[in-house]
Symmetry: C2
Subunit: 642 residues, 2 copies
């Protein structure tokens, strides 16, 4: 069946086409009930509204200029853009006229702020008006534009209100004039990628190819010689030798993107770039971009990714270091970077379902990304370590509050990551209780999933449709799902005959009332890291379905590194934790090292061990109860660790 590969073009279902229940529905309820409003409140408290309100004096420099010559305050537009996007998605699920009115007010301020030429940026209009386009490398100017564009697209789709969309089209039209190789144009691109993928979204909603072309221009220019960042710096009187984060790898501008083979630099920037590249690859059927992306995908996922889908281990560059360097306690693994990995993975599915991407999308979504927000939707992680000695907790706000609206906009739009549709096929990338509405061959179809996934692996699909139609339903069979089975209308399917790139592709004449039972065994499993990951040597991590598990002090007391598995993961028993909204915990026999050596720091006899049971809970739900130690990679023992 390989002939099908890449012949198909899949686009995600629009956010309002999917109604969610279950775990994701619960997360969305928290966003509607608190996060959406919280984000706006905290943007206001930070001074962001004063920054764009031309009827008031600006707040000035609230977050001090740093040694690198900038401040995170320069990115406030992006925080507002992502917050607007979150509110927009939340309005689908729960109309909220008061919240909508607050966003309308913000949009009104941006309308007044916008320059006659179309330019729009709170910092460079109100604080440093003389510095417009002076330092594209470091100052996030087009990055801010990108997030406002994404907010505008989402808000237009959610409310039908065009004002912000029109504002951002005017700005984008101005950017088209400013950038390029013509006389008086700037032959550059942004140091923090984002505008590229935003322009694709703008093009898709407006139907204007010019925005696609601009996105492609930024992607094609990146890393070209003579190097724009060098020339820009010299023009600006700055010495490239003194660049903050001195390398060109830092923002993936060390060589043209089609030549890049290694995932490097700032992790979020990398993910946003690759997302834009994947979009352009899909839109232009650009196989050279796709080939580069496949190489980069393997590089990331086989050498540089935490088991949580966290990426970018180092705080120093908020990004990548050496292959197999995955420290657990000091892991940076920014929430935004895992969100970006979900973005990229979903866009790699544009050319056809492939579990190579979708499995990782699910893993990063459930673990590295979803960990970034508390169950009540009110507090947030920036870093996502896989071990904590007890001092790492979610915070209310941050001087660089990029992560809260990023994970919120992802979770509130998750329906569009679950399903994608082509002319004659619907792909189900992610499972969860939901109803999806779409149209194939002129037939309006509703596909419902009844399931407790990820807590239980039984998934029942029901189809409702106006009239029978011939098309394919492709169901992802995760690589880890040993013994998955499908029944169509009660009849067992020979999976091997329908597998294509890790999806069961069920092509037939479908009619209302058809039902499919997918059974994904969710046995707990022990994972071991490649021995080149020195930090995980002799250790194992438990997973069940897409979820990574961890031990927390609140269940197990402290001294978590004294825990050693003494049985196979298959011996785990399960328990539902009401405090964690019904999450399934795993209980396993272990040994525990004694913890009281009195005044001995070192001695010649090893710690005495005693038999015990340890409780493992889903990693994304950690730090939602009493604070304390946390550990993902526990010491392996018994038969599995020998």
């Amino acid at each position: 069946m390989n002939k099908l590969k890449r012949d198909r073009q899949f686009r995600p279902l629009p956010v309002p086409s999917v109604e969610l229940h279950g775990l994701f529905g619960d997360r969305q309820d928290a966003i509607c009930a608190s996060t959406a409003e919280t984000l706006l409140d905290r943007c206001v408290a930070a001074g962001m509204l004063r920054a764009i309100d031309t009827s008031q004096p600006g707040p000035g420099v609230v977050i001090p200029i740093q040694p690198w010559g900038g401040t995170t305050q320069m990115f406030w537009d992006s925080d507002l853009g992502k917050s607007i996007e979150t509110v927009a998605y939340s309005l689908y699920r729960r109309p909220n006229p008061q919240l909508e009115a607050r966003v309308d007010d913000i949009i009104g301020m941006y309308e007044k702020l916008q320059d006659k030429d179309g330019y729009l940026n709170a910092w460079f209009q109100r604080v440093q008006p003389g510095r417009r386009w002076a330092n594209l490398r470091d100052h996030h100017e087009l990055y801010c534009a990108g997030h406002l564009i994404e907010g505008a697209v989402a808000y237009y789709q959610a409310t039908g209100k065009r004002k912000l969309l029109d504002i951002m089209c005017r700005y984008a039209d101005y950017v088209i004039k400013v950038f390029g190789h013509g006389e008086g144009q700037i032959p550059g691109y942004c140091g923090h990628e984002e505008i590229e993928l935003a322009l694709v979204r703008l093009a898709r909603v407006t139907g204007e190819k010019k925005y696609l072309d601009l996105a492609k221009y930024f992607i094609d220019e990146r890393g070209a010689e003579p190097h724009f960042f060098t020339e820009e710096a010299i023009r600006d009187g700055r010495d490239p030798a003194n660049f903050i984060q001195s390398t060109y790898e830092y923002n993936q501008a060390h060589e043209p993107v089609r030549q890049q083979k290694k995932v490097v630099g700032h992790a979020v920037r990398a993910m946003y770039l690759y997302s834009g590249m994947a979009d352009i690859a899909t839109e232009y059927n650009d196989d050279t971009l796709t080939a580069a992306l496949e190489t980069l995908w393997d590089d990331l996922t086989t050498k540089q990714m935490y088991i949580t889908g966290g990426i970018g281990p180092a705080a120093s560059n908020e990004g990548f270091t050496d292959y197999y360097d995955l420290p657990n306690e000091s892991a940076y693994a920014e929430t935004c970077a895992s969100v970006g990995l979900v973005f990229w993975a979903s866009r790699m599915l544009g050319r056809g379902p492939d579990r190579r991407y979708a499995d990782i999308m699910e893993q990063a979504l459930y673990n590295g990304a979803m960990a970034g927000i508390s169950l009540d939707g009110r507090t947030f992680f920036y870093e996502n370590p896989l071990e904590s000695a007890g001092k790492h907790h979610r915070w209310i706000w941050h001087h660089c509050p990029c992560c809260p609206p990023n994970i919120a906009r992802l979770l509130s739009s998750i329906g569009s990551y679950m399903y994608a549709v082509a002319d004659d096929e619907i792909a189900v990338h992610l499972y969860g209780e939901s109803r999806a509405r779409f149209e194939i061959a002129g037939s309006k179809i509703t596909l419902a999933q009844e399931t407790r996934y990820p807590w239980d692996g039984a998934i029942h699909f029901y189809i409702e449709m106006e009239k029978p139609a011939h098309f394919a339903v492709s169901l992802r069979i995760p690589e880890w799902a040993d013994g998955a089975a499908i029944k169509v209308n009660g009849e067992a399917l020979d999976l091997s005959s329908v597998m294509l790139d890790g999806y069961a592709r069920i092509e037939r004449e479908w009619k209302s009332g058809d039902h499919v039972n997918l059974d994904i065994p969710l046995a707990a499993r022990s994972l071991f890291a490649n021995p080149l990951v020195r930090q995980d040597a002799g250790r194992t991590a438990l997973m069940r379905g897409p979820l990574v598990y961890c031990v927390e002090a609140t269940d197990n007391g402290s001294g978590l590194n004294g825990i050693r598995l003494s049985a196979d993961a298959s011996k785990a028993t399960t328990a539902e934790i009401a405090e964690l909204r019904g999450a399934v915990a795993l209980d396993l026999p272990v040994t525990r090292d004694e913890t009281d050596w009195g005044n001995m720091l070192y001695r010649t006899s090893p710690p005495q061990a005693r038999e015990a049971t340890a409780r493992f809970v889903p990693y994304p739900f950690w730090d939602n109860r009493a604070p304390g130690e946390m550990l993902v990679w526990v010491r392996a023992g018994g038969s599995s660790g020998e």
Copy 2:
């Protein structure tokens, strides 16, 4: 025999009274042959001579001012002071008129630089003359004076030349006038302790109690309220809220020293402070200081010390963090901090031999400190991690070159740490091939050690003396030395009857020709860390005698975390490594994890293990051969790790 405790006052033998061979002699030869000259060369290359040469324009600000308002260039006087001290000690072992002439030139420059009032500081006379005494907290002004004093004392003792000593006495006399609670005096002390212990040395060599009193003044003032650093900052127009390293703990000024119970802040500062406190405790018989020091000693050595005697795990404050927080790969464990621990330990022996201090002195000396200099004496570690992925190597020089002259001056004066003498007793704290000359009860005595220690535990003492005399020889029996035995003139001694605070105290009428055989079994032993040290859980470190061992890639290939001990340390066989100047290696059966998983980053089956032999070498000698990975704490297995 406890009645003896604290009744005795021990003072270290002068450096020239001990002639060294064996391992320490070899290290001293390297310092004479290269380090001493290298230090001067590199000080010159850094611009330090231009900084003090009044016949030339100063070099200006060579090392840029940092965000905290200072630069490491401010401490250049300390680098010169420690280098002069190193050269001075090296001259005992190997006269070197050329090197001596270079130091005489430097001293001549300092003589010309000194202000009429006695003040002497290259930075505050030549670069920021208006800032004298403006920021004692951050600018190391008295710290620089202290190191010049130590250099002056050593150079006077080594050469009999008084010029630098006189210069520094004039400066110290001026400091006495400047500091205090009188009208117009500064009621302060230095942010970086050092002057305290230096003044004790100056007092001892000059016999001037006023210098002791000044040292005691600085110690007594530290941490008193109203807080000097706060008041100083306000006078200087600085906001204490913006202090670099914002805490008062950072420089042990958070409370009066006699109330301090926890070792905190910058590790080197802490060690220098406690060293000065111990000196003052000895000189003034100040039991309140001794009591505080005993508490601090336990705090450090039972909760905050690497097995190497490395201390201060964090780079962020070059110092201490939480109890039991001892990360291996990111360990800061500055060479200077272990050198400082040796200083402190040796001074704790002033009130009587006690292996509680001497064992740790030896452990820190051999491991955390001695690792800081290469076998050829030409390259240096600043940080001393206990694990390296292969990128940590000794460097030629550093923007803050405090460590090279610090380890060099320690090793070149090590004789005075080995032996200490009281009225009727000689204590041998450290073992090694050497001849010590001293006088007890009017009798000139030579005590020779014939031994290959630390490679072999057989130590033969021979005594030569003019006439028989009654005194005690106290020999340290390390706590780890199971089965140590002593024979006096061939007759076995009942150790239990002569043990006092971990020393075999052999009191008798000694005469020329007497000999003592001490046998310290040097079986390799496995050490385990307190289970609260999460970073060492499931791991073990090998020691033999005072030496910590490690595995290096050059012997074992890479993938050192794949090594798992499969036998008791007692199964180790030994081998002499010619490349490491005869160091004894330990070979042990282990298992090794497979290292090639191809493109798999995570999988459900653990790495396959194969049987192998691993070679362990002394930690202080690592990175002297082919560069690569290094690991101290290997995975425990077999009977010892269960």
